[in-house]
């Protein structure tokens, strides 16, 4: 269905993969891309559970927008193992304006498909997806 403000549909695969990440923990992260010609959001890349944060940031292109979901594991002060599911709206300053506009207007519609996101992060350059930023947002 295409009823977003920008007319972008969401491919069923996106929701499926997200549910797998959430319930079965089969992926560490998922990177989504908007295919302009097909007018839909598709899954571009997934990361294995053994991959880390560095692999995630490396799979975000430096001058193109993406959406991403990352499952972040950490240990709290009381020594509990916890995890948070991050939604990252990656919109680097160096990307094209048209790209930023499409991603921005489709974001809300897309997020609604992914039920279970705990923290949302918007990043416009590599410093904003640094590990210290994630850690501070996790708690």
């Amino acid at each position: 269905m295409a009823n977003a403000a920008s007319g972008i549909a969401v491919h069923d695969d996106c929701k499926l993969r997200f549910l797998e990440l959430k319930a079965k923990r089969t992926y560490r992260f998922i990177v989504f891309k908007i295919e302009e010609k097909q007018k839909q959001v598709i899954v571009e890349k997934v990361g294995e559970p053994n991959q880390g944060y560095e692999d995630f940031t490396a799979s975000l292109p430096a001058d193109e927008c993406r959406y991403a979901v990352y499952d972040f594991d950490f240990v709290t002060e009381e020594n509990c193992q916890k995890s948070r599911i991050f939604f990252v709206a990656w919109s680097p300053d160096t990307s094209r304006v048209r790209s930023k506009m499409i991603y921005a207007s489709s974001k809300d519609r897309f997020k609604r498909e992914l039920d279970g996101i705990q923290v949302e992060l918007q990043a416009t350059d590599p410093t904003e997806i640094g590990l210290d930023v994630i850690k501070s947002r996790a708690s």
């Binding site: 300053d93 160096t94 410093t127 210290d132």
Partner: protein, 556 residues
């Protein structure tokens, strides 16, 4: 990990025609004064022991210790009073808006429960008019026991009143009295003497007799150039220390018990310190310069070491220095070369380059070659001779010349870096590098000349390889406002950047930008000068007129 090692404090802000207020701790030899939005807490026994309270949103006017020494009340030009603790990181106890305008003075009640504040605007103040002076009454002080109070005025007189009845009981004798407006007065702890300071550049100690009259006991003068800046505007009698402050901000400490002893002079900057240079021959000497033209030498571990006496006191915009010479440019069209011997500047030679200089750099290996960038081009100087003036066709915002004088990098308003080779007086463009997304603000070669780093107005810094002209380290985007200054460590392994966002960030060239060290809040108002004194020590200066030395502990 970074640690603040030393702070070279700024001096009190002083303006002509007005006295300033400095107050002391009831328990120790610590004094309080204000500069800009900061309150400075200085230990008279060890001037390197200084703390700064920077929480006011408006310029601060006065700060006073509570009678038990636990709290400090400080006020600013917006009429707000903040009460904060002396210990425990200056925790705020209370803030309230007392007046609608500038607060000129405030005082704690002896029980420490109330504060009276006076100033401009509507508000609570207890004022009784005394008409005995014929000119501005500048300062009024109760004696420590409350039995008398004294007022001093621009009419050069001091009048003593009974503390309870407010009747005039006597005055300071005009014999050997001040010859200029008296700006401030301070009682001795035993209430038998007062210290006054005046626009006649002297401080006088008066014996106050029981009948309320004062006679000059001693006149104190500090060494100075004799100009307007030596006018004394503030004083304080703090235990054994007699503190006087001049219009230029020089703090002189006399000993109350040994009045003939020469005073200890403390000084610092009053305004934004825009440049910092570490003199090459002695790594521990730091030269700092503020835009009002004041150049001060500091010695690491010791503090204030002297002011460079310049023949003229024009404002300085850019400064470059090598061992025995300082090159400056101001807001006119001239470049000045000043030979320096110790603390004295020799006769300066100037050259008029035709337009206002925007940036200045010296070829460190042959310092008679200087590159000056102007609005639309560059000028190359050999000594004070203009060798060539080149119009480059774009707006130049930053420039740097290689130590051997053979290459120059010019940064433009559009963020492009142009690399030129220099042969004699000809500049040949070799390459244009595009990466910055804002006007380039600073360019610096690494000491080993294998790299150079550039910073821009868009908060980004880039390290480049000099030979291949490829980006060596990128994503250095951690500042949140424009990058003002940049410095390399002596071994070329680290780059420190200072920004308007008040932070200093230190990157290691071999590690990713994310593993950086951040010094937050290094200087209220922005960091404008940066230099490394050795491998692990960074010196920074900024808008708060202070110079700070930071020690870096290497991470494994």
């Amino acid at each position: 990990m970074t640690q603040l090692a030393e702070t070279y404090a700024c001096v009190p802000t002083a303006e002509r025609g007005r006295g300033i207020l400095i107050s002391g701790s009831p328990k120790s030899n610590t004094i309080l004064y204000t500069n800009g939005r900061s309150v400075i807490i200085l230990n008279l026994d060890n001037p390197l022991d200084v703390s700064v309270y920077a929480e006011h949103a408006y310029p601060a006017t006065v700060a006073r210790f509570s009678p038990n020494g636990e709290w400090i009340a400080s006020a600013d030009v917006s009429g707000a009073v903040r009460i904060w603790g002396t210990r425990n990181e200056f925790v705020l106890k209370k803030e309230f808006k007392v007046l609608s305008g500038r607060i000129d003075d405030l005082q704690w009640s002896p029980d420490g429960m109330r504060i009276v504040a006076c100033g401009e605007g509507k508000g609570k103040s207890f004022v009784r008019a005394f008409m005995d002076h014929s000119n501005f009454a500048n300062c009024v002080r109760f004696s420590p026991d409350g039995s008398k109070f004294i007022t001093v005025s621009s009419d050069k007189k001091g009048i003593i009143y009974d503390g309870k009845s407010a009747e005039k009981i006597g005055e300071l004798s005009s014999e050997d009295g001040h010859k200029g407006s008296i700006y401030a007065v301070s009682w001795s702890p035993d209430g038998k003497q007062v210290l006054t300071v005046s626009a006649d550049k002297s401080a006088k100690i008066w014996d106050i007799s029981e009948d309320g009259n004062g006679k000059v006991k001693k006149t104190l003068t500090s060494p100075g150039s004799g100009g307007v800046e030596d006018m004394l505007v503030g004083c304080l009698w703090q235990n054994d220390h007699l503190v006087t402050v001049s219009l230029a901000g020089t703090i002189s400490l006399f000993s109350a018990t040994d009045l003939d002893k020469a005073p200890v002079l403390l000084s610092g900057h009053m305004k934004n310190v825009t440049s910092l240079v570490v003199l090459k021959n002695d790594p521990k000497v730091i030269v700092s310069c503020s835009y009002d033209g004041l150049i001060i030498k500091w010695i690491q571990g010791v503090g204030y070491s002297g002011r460079l006496q310049r023949k003229d006191n024009s404002q300085i915009k850019c400064l470059a220095a090598v061992e025995e010479e300082i090159v400056t440019s101001g807001f006119d069209n001239k470049i000045w070369r000043v030979p320096v011997h110790g603390d004295q500047c020799g006769d300066a030679d100037s050259v008029d380059i035709g337009t206002q200089p925007k940036d200045l750099s010296l070829a460190l290996l042959s310092p008679e070659i200087a590159l000056v960038s102007t609005d639309s081009g560059v000028v190359i100087l050999h000594g004070t001779k203009v060798v060539s003036t080149v119009n480059l066709g774009f707006t130049v915002t930053a420039s740097a010349i290689a130590p051997d004088g053979m290459e120059a990098i010019i940064g433009g308003q559009d963020g492009k870096l142009h690399i030129y080779s220099i042969t004699g007086d000809i500049l040949k463009e070799e390459a244009v590098l595009e990466k910055h997304r804002g006007a380039v603000s600073v360019i610096r070669y690494s000491p080993d000349v294998s790299m150079f780093a550039s910073g821009d107005l868009n908060r980004e810094v880039v390290v480049w390889d000099r030979v291949s002209r490829e980006v060596k380290l990128k994503n250095m985007l951690y500042h949140t406002a424009r990058v003002n200054c940049l410095a390399w460590s002596p071994d070329s392994r680290m780059v420190a950047t200072g920004s308007l966002d008040t932070c200093v960030i230190i990157y290691e060239v071999d590690k990713p930008a994310s593993s950086r060290l951040t010094i937050k809040g290094a200087h209220l108002g922005g960091v404008y000068g940066l230099a490394f004194t050795d491998q692990y020590t960074v010196v920074s200066s900024g808008e708060d007129a202070c110079v700070r030395v930071w020690r870096l502990t290497p991470q494994s």
